[in-house]
């Protein structure tokens, strides 16, 4: 019994210590922004590996998610004779929820895990300590550009996901199932508000990008520098990102769309 409480106390303390380290890590990363901006080369390289390489998976997933929404939405809405509202259903669910959330989950799996593994291996092969020996701050040189790249890429990827998904829904809805093309777009345009729906979706994706990049980089930086430690850190990145994204999404949705 005593042992149980001892373990509980130790675990709680460990997790708070980790959160504290994570916050310190985030602050030093943010402090590094000023020294990264004069060297855009560093950022460009990371935008390529974080953003451009995620482009394909995001657009293809977006297309198919939109097509599935079009199909399922059509079956449900046609029961009520409301197929004309298909555009509203597809676009509202994509812009408000699925766009930011699914993009963030894919982003954590595609880019987040790669970032953790990269940083973890740099730590394991003592590249980070090597930099410190040469008086190069690894946070500013390695971490901050990757953080910024994730932060910039996420909203762009989420917007692409939603846009491609809406086109996918239109392809299935009016191309395959015969929903009127005009009412698909016009109902969408009357029901979707730029500020309430689209900007809130963009804000969501910015927050998810921030959190996912933070978790991925911190887990890599904090990994035990062995092959097992890196593999565990990579797993933790995906699991923790998914949890944080889904929990944050609930909170953000309640805040943004609660007063309707």
């Amino acid at each position: 019994m005593m042992q149980f409480f001892q373990n509980l106390g130790a675990d709680t303390r460990t997790s708070f210590t980790k959160l504290g380290r994570g916050t310190y890590f985030l602050l030093s990363t943010l402090a590094g922004i000023a020294s990264v901006l004069p060297r855009p080369r560093l950022l460009m390289n990371q935008l390529y590996s974080v953003g451009v390489l995620s482009f394909l998976i995001i657009t293809i997933s977006g297309l198919f998610v939109g097509m599935v929404l079009g199909l399922q939405g059509f079956y449900i809405l046609s029961d009520f004779g409301a197929e004309e509202s298909l555009g509203v259903m597809v676009s509202a669910s994509l812009v408000r929820e699925l766009g930011p959330v699914v993009t963030a989950l894919l982003f954590a799996g595609r880019a987040g895990s790669a970032l953790t593994a990269e940083i973890g291996l740099m730590k394991a092969t003592e590249q980070l300590s090597g930099m410190e020996m040469m008086a190069v701050d690894p946070i500013r040189r390695i971490i901050t550009p990757r953080f910024l790249a994730g932060f910039i890429s996420m909203p762009l990827l989420a917007a692409l996901f939603s846009a491609v998904g809406i086109i996918g829904g239109q392809l299935v809805g009016s191309g395959l199932l015969g929903v009127d093309d005009g009412s698909y777009w016009s109902q969408m345009q009357t029901q979707i508000d730029f500020y309430d729906d689209i900007l809130n979706g963009v804000i969501k994706s910015i927050i998810f990008g921030f959190v996912t990049s933070w978790i991925a980089l911190f887990e890599g930086y904090d990994a035990i520098p062995t092959s097992e430690g890196v593999s565990r850190a990579t797993t933790r990145t995906v699991v923790n990102s998914a949890f944080s994204i889904l929990i944050l999404d609930f909170i953000l949705t309640a805040l943004m769309f609660g007063d309707k």
Binding site: M44, N45, L47, Y48, S49, G51, V52, S153, L156, A163
Partner: protein
Amino acid sequence: MQHTATQDTLVGLFVAAGFAGLFFLALQVSNLSSFGQQDTYTVTARFESSGGLKIKSAVSAAGVKIGKVTDISFDTKTYQAVVSMAIDAKYNTLPDDTTASIFTAGLLGEQYVNLDAGGSDTVLKNGSKIDITQSAIILEKIIGQFLFKSAEEKAQGDKK
């Protein structure tokens, strides 16, 4: 990672595609292009009941959307619902004896304000009030009345 010019091009394309997606959402998907920044004028109307009318519900005349509801409030003196509507400035020839009624699109659809133009020579301006209104039809009330009536008839039939 080695830096190349191709990489720059790809990053450029990626950023451009992301912004294109955002523009697409803003212009094609949302109502930003149709009723965003355009000039509007506001008129108010008082209803006995505003039913299920919401802010941003459509205001239409002859079936064409000409504006939207911007505010619904309760008047504590007259116990009426005060509905403010922003009407697109290009529809500035509505006569001031226009009738405002709350209709439902379809049997269970959304409620909207319908404006029926009258015959007066003076037109509605910013801040005008619409005097002739017709409240929302509340389906539950009508069903209630119907049930009550048929029960009454049945009771009278039993007496005879």
